[in-house]
């Protein structure tokens, strides 16, 4: 008989961990299997740039303690790819032909790197930047390299570029759009970033991409679409990730860009759930269904899936894009609609920029409520702004205060302040004093 588990999760990252930790908080007994094609203990992909730059060692890449699976009584099937799902028989087929029967299944299959349609990508010293193996290979190749081209000026590309630059390489970032980090930040922040990278010796080339790859067995350079030739001895492809949906697709699940799920993380197929970079969720701020390939979103999605898999009944609440990043000495935080600045749809932009201090703040308001923000430079207590967003608070009476570098609860008018803090404060302790 096939091994049978009450719960099976495919994937071994944030989503799976959120799910398993929630499952165990609700159901101490049910059997859990975790299936992962990578033969590694759960590690954090978000830490790859920190490892590459040398800030942390391999040990610290691990997201949970070494005995995590034992502690949570998880049967970890590592190094085995799930190749097929049979939703009728409720079985997952592994690459070694073993079949795992499940009661409830979570797909947390993540994303796969986008690969450009260029010839010559089979040459040596061309890498993606998504998993531990990629980074270990890059590390090996670093030793004899001097110049590296990074294709893609998004979050991953820029983080890779900074790390490689700090490892002593001359780095060229090639971005197809007119500016770096284009979907994540606005024009002003892109400019701050491009200046910052150039100050640090990194070349940023926009509105361009790679047309040809030069070299014999190894890459020796690239030719851009405008004819520019850049000699290099390494190429890193960091054009972003696409949801990994092959398993879901073959199993007949509904898919748009990612696997479609409802607020309970249920897919179109009974007893199959999905979360994280492979799933498409509802962005409650933007009002659209989309893939939100960010760590916290994956973990929270896993928690919600886990709750429902164990009969708990949680639904996702306020959900949107949120990002905390840093490049060289510049700290950046974004949330919600941070690029869309179409005032015709009732959005109001409040902006302050102090270029010399690399200080930037932008709030996007709709009907007096924050629906998007970008903070650069000063990010202390940013979560208070996010809390104002989440609670749909009317900030119009104190918009000027949003730009105070020491913004805090003190900056918020009393009635709203005490409402936001009501679970934590005791009012009415002084007779005759009615401040609320």
């Amino acid at each position: 008989m096939n091994p049978t588990f009450d719960y099976a999760v495919i994937g071994n990252s944030a989503g799976s961990m959120g799910c398993i930790e929630m499952l165990r908080s609700l159901d101490g007994r049910g059997s859990i299997a975790l299936i992962s094609e990578e033969a590694r203990h759960v590690y954090s992909r978000a830490l790859l740039p920190y490892y590459l730059v040398g800030k942390i060692d391999l040990e610290k890449m691990y997201y949970r303690p070494p005995d995590f699976y034992e502690q949570n009584r998880v049967t970890a099937i590592l190094g085995q790819k799930a190749v097929q799902i049979d939703p009728d028989k409720k079985e997952a087929l592994l690459a070694n032909q073993e079949r795992i029967a499940y009661g409830k299944l979570l797909l947390a299959t993540g994303g796969q790197p986008l690969i450009p349609p260029i010839n010559g990508l089979d040459k040596k010293k061309i890498f993606t930047f998504l998993n531990m193996n990629d980074v270990l290979e890059i590390e090996k190749a670093l030793v004899n390299s001097r110049r590296v081209v990074v294709l893609g000026g998004g979050v991953i590309g820029l983080m890779a570029a900074e790390a490689l630059s700090k490892r002593g390489l001359k780095v060229y970032v090639i971005e197809l759009a007119g500016r770096v980090l284009a979907p994540v930040v606005d024009e002003a922040v892109s400019q701050l970033l491009e200046a910052l990278f150039r100050e640090n010796g990194v070349e940023i080339i926009t509105k361009n991409t790679i047309a040809e790859i030069n070299g014999g067995s190894s890459v020796t350079g690239v030719v851009l679409t405008d004819g520019t030739e850049i000699p290099c001895d390494m190429l890193v492809l960091a054009m972003g990730v696409a949801p990994r949906v092959e398993l879901a697709s073959q199993a007949g699940l509904k898919i748009d860009r990612g696997i479609l799920v409802n607020g309970r993380m249920e897919t179109s197929q009974a007893d199959i759930y999905a979360c994280g970079d492979c799933a498409q969720v509802y962005d409650t701020v933007a009002g659209v269904s989309k893939v939100i390939p960010l760590w916290p979103n994956a973990y929270l999605g896993g928690r919600i899936a886990g709750s429902n898999m164990a009969g708990g009944g949680r639904e996702s609440g306020w959900t949107t894009n949120m990002n905390s990043m840093h490049f060289f000495d510049l700290y950046l935080i974004t949330a919600g609609l941070n690029v869309s600045t179409d005032e015709s749809v009732g959005l109001v932009n409040l902006v302050r920029l102090v270029k010399e201090q690399k200080y930037y703040r932008k709030f996007i308001l709709r009907e007096g409520r924050i629906v998007g923000l970008i903070l650069a430079g000063k990010i202390s207590r940013a979560g208070i702004f996010v809390n104002l967003m989440r609670s749909r608070a009317d900030v119009s009476p104190f918009t000027g205060d949003l730009f105070n570098e020491d913004f805090g609860y003190w900056s918020i008018p009393e009635k709203l302040r005490w409402e936001l803090l009501k679970e934590h404060i005791i009012l009415g302790v002084v007779d005759g004093n009615d401040r609320t």
């Binding site: 959120g18 954090s44 978000a46 830490l47 920190y50 800030k55 942390i56 610290k60 691990y62 997201y63 949970r64 760590w295 916290p296 973990y299 929270l300 928690r303 949120m322 990002n323 905390s324 840093h326 700290y331 935080i333 949330a335 990010i379 202390s380 207590r381 940013a382 979560g383 208070i384 996010v386 809390n387 989440r390 805090g408 609860y409 003190w410 900056s411 009393e414 005490w418 936001l420 803090l421 679970e423 934590h424 404060i425 005791i426 009012l427 009415g428 302790v429 002084v430 007779d431 004093n433 401040r435």
Partner: protein, 157 residues
């Protein structure tokens, strides 16, 4: 679990909670040495919010649904299963500030020097949170808000 609850009306804005928080997180736990002699200065994990005449102290709320833990990319932040406290393992912290982004209370403080964060640990290892026991006017209390007959049911000090 026991939590620090805040009574803004009786806070006099003396900032002693910040002072004693520094002491509690110093090497020596001695107020003079902590401020004058220790090479690595401790920092306060409590912030006095101040818009006169209103003042009140705010620190990590040790949330039952901790957004910071869910957002942490390194596993440095976690909920201690036995106590329910939200613990920060500085060794694991890489300073990504995802927690700063999501903490609704602004309770996670950026440690610029070490490029990491610090937060309230409810004075782990000490007899009680110093900010509470050293507050001269009872503006912070340490109690379980869910317990019947707890501090939330007694509005008058």
């Amino acid at each position: 679990m026991e939590r620090i609850l805040i009574k803004p009306e009786v806070c006099i804005g003396c900032h002693l909670c910040e002072i004693w928080c520094v002491v509690a997180h110093s090497q020596t736990k001695d107020i003079i040495k902590a401020f004058l002699h220790e090479k690595v200065k401790a920092s306060a994990r409590v912030i006095v919010e101040e818009k006169l005449p209103v003042t009140f102290a705010l620190q990590c709320r040790h949330c039952a649904e901790p957004d910071c833990v869910f957002a942490c990319i390194s596993g440095a932040l976690y909920m201690d299963a036995a106590s329910g406290r939200i613990v920060h393992d500085s060794e694991k912290c890489v300073g990504c500030y995802s927690c700063v982004l999501v903490c609704p209370y602004g309770g996670i403080i950026i440690d610029r020097e070490n490029k990491k964060v610090i937060k309230c640990d409810l004075c782990q290892g000490l007899e009680n949170p110093y900010c509470v026991s050293r507050c001269p006017n009872g503006a912070l209390v340490y109690a379980d808000p869910e317990k019947k007959g707890g501090v939330m049911d007694e509005p008058n000090v």
